[in-house]
């Protein structure tokens, strides 16, 4: 059994904060049960079961997304609402979009990416497995690919999301690394697909060390190739990595590529499926040295790359880097050592466990530091949109207008060009542009600017501007600050105590706008 520390029962505002950081926001009906048993909520969330997510299954089955493009000599004009086609298909089913790219409009190649974007929004709002959705987002940021910058990555995104990120998001980090390293999306994005013996492409190797595993804090850039000068190297336990480790790793991954139809030797050709392939004749088989470990020449197929993954996965710098990053996601910047240290310990001890990541997340979420970190995170645009829909009961449907506004607010889904992934720093979302667009985001959802769904009007009697404001603030923040109610009422300028009936058309308009401005308050923008 994992170690759990005694927990104080949670107040409503604490539950709202916890569900806003470990999930995509609290639904009103969740608050009481989670207040009584946050640890059991965590346990349940750590073992998600697909067959128990009916809300998502049903909505995905009936979701349609618009596709529209003009006529061309080779194809007719298209303007239709089309159901999802790629989300559950293997890569080879989508790869004709790349193979036959001359025969269709580019909008067709954007479909796989748009389907994943839509499904991501839909799951954030409706999935029962809220913690998994947060981790899926964390790992997409961590193992970032840019599906807007490359058509191949766009077409590979459903497989990447499903078979790499979702499959391993609570699993074992070493297995996760290999799934990423052999994924079509990453092989294209960090260009290992074209890396060949002779002069390897170091793009993937460098980001593997710097961003995926040991972290830039372990980069000893002043040693360059002087590996023996790295402390610990004589015991084959160097404390960090140097440029030469990057170069040698790049050699180790030569030949890890994609079935993209390339000629191998004039007689043999890779098939055109988009799947992973290992091409022995492109691999640099000679001896290597990575992290002070000598690799013998001409090992078995893929053994060089796998040994690099073993070395980086079990390096102590990786444990600390990854755990700190996970803590930042759940607790905010500068997480205290009192939570990082025990979580690093669990990460290290469970290195071979199939649920290594789940074990670490459990320790973080059940720590008193997690409970204490209220208000530490600025909600990112998707988290804000989902939390707003969940708190108000809007049955939100993803649309292009919505994901464009998420992008305006600083979060273009699956479209962060550099491999760092979307920043997990409040400062990035506190700029004037992001602030203004996040205010617009909740208003646009409340007033259905983008066709995402109408605001629910509960027909349970009369309401005044004051009662509406108090109701939403209580639901959003867990407690009502009279000053905030007054701020809303004074700003809105409606007679605060004039009662309206639900049948009055003004009722629904005021309800939606009141909810939106309540969600613009600092108490809902942070969690």
């Amino acid at each position: 059994m994992p170690e759990t520390r005694p927990m104080v029962p949670l107040a409503p505002d604490a539950v709202i904060s916890a569900l806003g950081r470990a999930g995509y926001g609290a639904r009103p009906e969740e608050i009481a049960p989670v207040a009584r048993g946050f640890p059991s909520w965590v346990e349940e969330q750590l073992a998600p079961r697909e067959d128990q997510d009916q809300a998502v299954r049903e909505r995905l089955a009936r979701l349609t997304l618009r596709v529209r493009y003009p006529v061309n000599p080779k194809w007719p004009a298209v303007d239709e609402l089309r159901p999802l086609a790629y989300l559950d298909k293997p890569i080879e089913a989508a790869w004709p979009l790349i193979e036959k790219r001359q025969e269709m409009d580019g909008a067709e190649r954007r479909r796989p990416r748009e389907e994943v974007m839509a499904a991501t929004i839909l799951r954030a709002v409706h999935s029962r497995w809220q913690l998994r959705e947060v981790l899926v987002s964390f790992w997409h940021d961590h193992f970032n690919v840019d599906a807007w910058g490359s058509e191949e990555v766009s077409v590979a995104l459903p497989t990447y999301d499903r078979d790499v990120i979702r499959k391993h998001c609570l699993g074992n980090f070493r297995q996760f690394l290999e799934a990423v390293a052999t994924s079509t999306a990453m092989l294209y994005y960090l260009s290992n697909r074209t890396s060949r013996a002779g002069a390897a492409n170091e793009n993937y190797g460098r980001e593997l060390f710097e961003l995926h595993t040991l972290g830039r804090g372990a980069y000893l850039n002043d040693r360059y190739d002087r590996w023996a000068d790295v402390p610990g190297a004589n015991k084959r336990a160097p404390v960090g990595y140097i440029d030469e480790d990057v170069y040698e790793s790049a050699r180790a991954f030569t030949g890890w590529t994609v079935e993209d139809g390339t000629n191998i030797d004039g007689k043999r050709k890779l098939p055109l499926t988009g799947r992973f392939a290992y091409v022995e004749s492109w691999h640099d088989g000679y001896q290597k040295r990575v992290l002070a470990h000598e690799f013998k020449e001409f090992g078995a197929a893929m053994s060089d790359g796998r040994t690099v993954l073993d070395l980086v996965a079990r390096h102590p710098a990786t444990a600390r880097f990854m755990v700190t990053k996970l803590c930042r996601r759940f607790l905010g910047e500068n997480p205290p050592e009192s939570v990082v240290a025990p979580a690093v310990d669990v990460w290290t001890k469970s290195a071979r466990a199939p649920d290594q990541i789940a074990q670490v997340v459990r320790v973080i979420l059940l720590s008193p530091e997690f409970a204490a970190a209220r208000g530490a995170k600025v909600r990112r645009p998707l988290a804000l949109a989902a939390a707003f829909a969940r708190a108000t009961g809007i049955d939100l449907t993803p649309t292009e207008g919505l994901w464009n506004e998420l992008a305006n607010g600083g979060q273009r889904l699956f479209g962060w060009p550099p491999p760092t992934g979307l920043p997990d720093e409040n400062a990035y979302f506190l700029g004037a542009n992001s602030m203004r667009h996040r205010w617009a985001l909740v208003l646009g959802i409340a007033e259905n600017w983008w066709g995402t769904g109408t605001f629910p009007v509960m027909a349970n009697g009369m309401a005044t501007a004051r009662s509406m404001a108090a109701r939403f603030l209580a639901g959003f923040e867990g407690s009502v600050q009279p000053a905030t109610v007054e701020a809303l009422l004074e700003g809105l300028g409606w007679p605060p105590d004039q009662a309206l009936e639900p049948g009055n058309p003004e009722f629904g308009k005021r309800l939606a706008r009141t909810a939106a401005v309540a969600a613009m308050s600092p108490g809902f923008q942070t969690v």
Binding site: N201, G491, P522
Partner: protein, 429 residues
Amino acid sequence: MTLSRRNLLKSALLSAPLLGSAGLRRLAFAADGVDRGLLVIVHLRGGCDGLNLISPATDPTFIEARASDLRVQAEGPDAGHQLARGPDPKIDFRLHASATGLAELYNSGRLAFVHAVGLTDETRSHFVAIDMMEHGVAGQAALAHSGSGWLARYLQAIDATAPASGIAASGGITSEFLGGAGGLAIPDLGGGFGAPGGPQVGAVLAKLYGGAPGPIGAAGRTTLQAMAAIDGRIPRDAQNKPVAYTPENGAVYEPGGDLGRALRTVAQLAKMQIGLQVATADIGGWDTHENQPGRFRNCVERLSAGISAFYADMARFHDRLILVTVSEFGRRLRSNRSNGTDHGRAGVMMVLGGGVQGGRFYGKWPGLATDKLDEGVDLSVATDYRQVLSEVLAAHSGRGASLASAFPDYAAPRPLGIFATAAAVARPG
């Protein structure tokens, strides 16, 4: 924002030698007592291959090291632009063939190049290099102790603390502005910059954020201030819809892509007279590990077109305008087998403006012989990026020594002389 008489006087006094009497008619950016010109920093994100932007085209070592389509050619149909007064008279330095606009600016004497320039720290990591450059340092220890960006410190040093004195025009705020009062991220003004939902929502926001504590409260107030300063200056039509911005002199920003959009926003804001002093803009796509020739050409086209459009649009303000480009590093001398180049060391910076003594190169050319290369593989850093930026800040502020805070642990050697003296700038025409 309040107009401070003291600041007005101080700025007027400081800039008097730079402006001369002729300059007083051209207080183009004057607002709230600020009458400096505009400094624009363009980031070439991803590590621009300086050797492919400006190639030592006839250097035999270079020709041996790279496939021909990763070099600018000195002759033939793909020959690059000839550059007079290169850094080494024995070598024909050529500018990439797609950089036609930049070639014209160089030949007009307003654009200068610095080759073999960069970060003296040996990092080959994008993110470490960017962090160091945006903090204005060159080392891990200095970075660890630096809590602010160099533009934040500079704006502080010149008392430009209004939020709208600094703009990041490409999405999020860049860390150059970190830790300072100025610095807004405003990538686009197409839909206006007012409160979403109109004045009613604006009134609520003012109440909600007026006294709100913490970083979110401060961010809300800054945003509301910026909205108030900017939105009212965006022209609107009879239906109260924002009127699209029309660049001057027929400048066309579209071929500049992401950079063009950002620079267009900078020009639009500069002409609003809201006290804008410093702006940053990004152009991505330079991390050319594979298939470099096409990707690089595309980047150069956008870079050249974006900067040309901006310079044309801002023609009225050339004597008050400085644009400088930076990139986190250059790329490896030898190409890889993906027909690309991996992370290297030194690269190229460009400085453009009415006060720039352009049409020539600054800084030493270290050469490409193996013993001159960094670790035997990369073009060495012969000029510290901070030397160029120090001269840029001295020219922009009209001051010298008091700006040391922008680059705290750096003592600039003798100036490269990129800018004309104050007296020369003051001459009209």
